[in-house]
């Protein structure tokens, strides 16, 4: 048995009544093996649960998996860009591919690849335990919950980002500031909202629970929550939108309500995706270095593959505020004017 608990190729060769060289040829898809022999050897390999260790390509580059959530957001593209800039060969798997009865953890760990980079919207306890217990090294990007040192991870300073976004709005003179987070339990969203609370409290302002909303990190969530916010008796004059996609939903909902951004409503995003610059108006947003997070995680995985030890504490890369054109001081009429416009629209 090998280190992976697999049959040796010698044992398979003996059982099939062929040479080791023949088994090797079958594994390498060589043509100089008869169809019958090929089928017999493949059957035995399958029966013994043989997993070929396809760890490196022809140029000695490690072959690893990158597990991404649904490929429906530029967020995934930014991370991919960073990962592919590393000296790893990366097979992309999306959770939306419909894994069927096999869990994605089993798929990734059973693929015979050297390691895995994991970006998933919710890492469950069983998934975390499965990854942590596997021999295949894994690094988690933008973790959704505390990893308690069981897996190395790379994230961003989300709390500091939330703090900077909210302070920017406070400095412009806003006092009725709403925040739309991501799904309730997601770590990065909770940290951003913590930063929002800390910014308000440091100025002696109370947090109004009506202005703190969960979202989905997508356009739809930003749109729906903004419609609800604008129906409040005392609507906000600014929204910290939690993600750029959500910020685009806020801008869209404002437009539907007849409000101008930033004149009537200031909006701050989070991520600094390319689309933040393309938006009209270009979005003020908190930049998290997604591509750099991807590259850093890939370098950490490479180090693990080369036998280095890594500290298991989370790595956090710095966020920074990018001020563009979606934020401005509240208009003279302030909240009242927003309310009046909403009432008219």
């Amino acid at each position: 048995m090998t280190k992976h608990g697999q049959p040796t190729l010698g044992a398979v060769a003996a059982e099939a009544g062929v040479s080791l060289a023949t088994v090797s040829k079958v594994l390498n898809d060589r043509v100089d093996v008869s169809a019958g022999t090929r089928a017999r050897v493949r059957r035995l390999l399958d029966a013994h649960g043989y997993v070929p260790t396809v760890h490196r390509n022809a140029r000695g580059r490690w072959l690893v998996s990158l597990v991404l959530p649904a490929l429906d957001s530029p967020y995934a593209l930014e991370i991919l860009r960073g990962v592919t800039a590393s000296p790893l060969d990366v097979v992309v798997c999306s959770l939306s591919d419909g894994a069927g009865p096999t869990s994605w953890t089993d798929q990734v760990l059973g693929s015979g690849r050297a390691g895995a980079l994991v970006v998933v919207p919710e890492l469950t306890d069983p998934e975390r335990t499965r990854l942590a217990g596997a021999r295949t090294p894994c690094v988690v990007i933008d973790p959704t919950g505390p990893l308690d040192g069981v897996l190395p991870s790379v994230g961003a300073t989300n709390r500091a980002g939330g703090l900077a976004a909210t302070r920017h709005l406070l400095d412009l003179g806003h006092r009725r500031i709403a925040v739309i987070g991501g799904p309730r339990q997601v770590l990065c969203s909770r940290a951003r909202i913590e930063g929002y609370r800390a910014a308000l409290e440091s100025r002696g302002l109370a947090v109004d629970p009506d202005l703190v909303r969960p979202g989905d990190f997508h356009h739809a969530g930003g749109f729906a929550q903004t419609q609800a916010l604008l129906r409040l008796p005392d609507p906000p004059t600014a929204v910290f939108a939690g993600s750029d996609e959500q910020a685009l939903g806020v801008v869209d909902a404002a437009r539907h309500a007849g409000l101008r951004v930033p004149d009537d409503l200031s909006v701050v995003g989070f991520d600094d995706l390319p689309v933040a610059r393309w938006s009209s108006p270009p979005l003020t947003t908190v930049r998290q270095p997604l591509a750099e997070m991807g590259r850093t995680a890939a370098e950490m995985l490479l180090a693990l593959l080369e036998g280095e030890q890594l500290a298991r504490r989370p790595v956090e890369l710095a966020t920074s505020l990018c001020v563009r054109s979606s934020t401005a001081p509240p208009s003279d009429g302030g909240v009242g004017q927003v309310r009046a416009r909403v009432a008219v629209a």
Copy 2:
């Protein structure tokens, strides 16, 4: 020698003075080989130019390359989404990774992978010849030039898309319609502009060369060309922007000039990326089924890998017009009003 003109593993084993089983262990990164032996065998494998044929993963899925242009556009993400929905394992390579002295064709063909899906901004004649002459099957997605039957390809009905976009603007009453294409020689861009010309000519309208502009398919190109168009003595009342990213640049340039979309300027995109729906206003655009193009190309590559023959003529998937909120009839004042607003801004 094997079919690939490579050394047999037996010859490498003999030269290294070890058994074939030991060579096999080295190739599989097994730990039960001494460091010295491992290094000697690896050196010999390298010296003989050995390319392991890493064609399938542990589950029998083919391992192929996907060559994408710079990963800076949601366009690439859409294609990737379609490709990963196929039963292929896909290693993503980006042309922006800095291939160095080795061309990307050599990298892809020398990786030992089973096949390649290729999306590149410009496929040069030498690259096309190199791919067509290789044993590794390749399928081109959204080809940038005619492939003359040397490689199978999947594209979209770009001419029909350009026709539909321009007819939509004509039907709204526009007569001064500009078009911004992609880089001058790119096939899909030329086809879209052909459709634009055909639509105008079928209504007996002459094509004004001032209104036909090359772009770069990015925000910057749309922005710069729109600024130039708005400086014309007789500016357009509508722009067919050639791509969604370029359309966002047109919208941004209009905003900078104090023009409202669609009231003062109608804008039609091309692609129907998710960002087209998130934009304010949501973009009227020509949908090309990028994900479906990716999936179709993957299925064609799979067929080639399984030994099927494919027709070498280009496959074209249908485009369709999505009417949203960035197009409207020209305002009463028409061109004159646009000119007046531009003069004021």
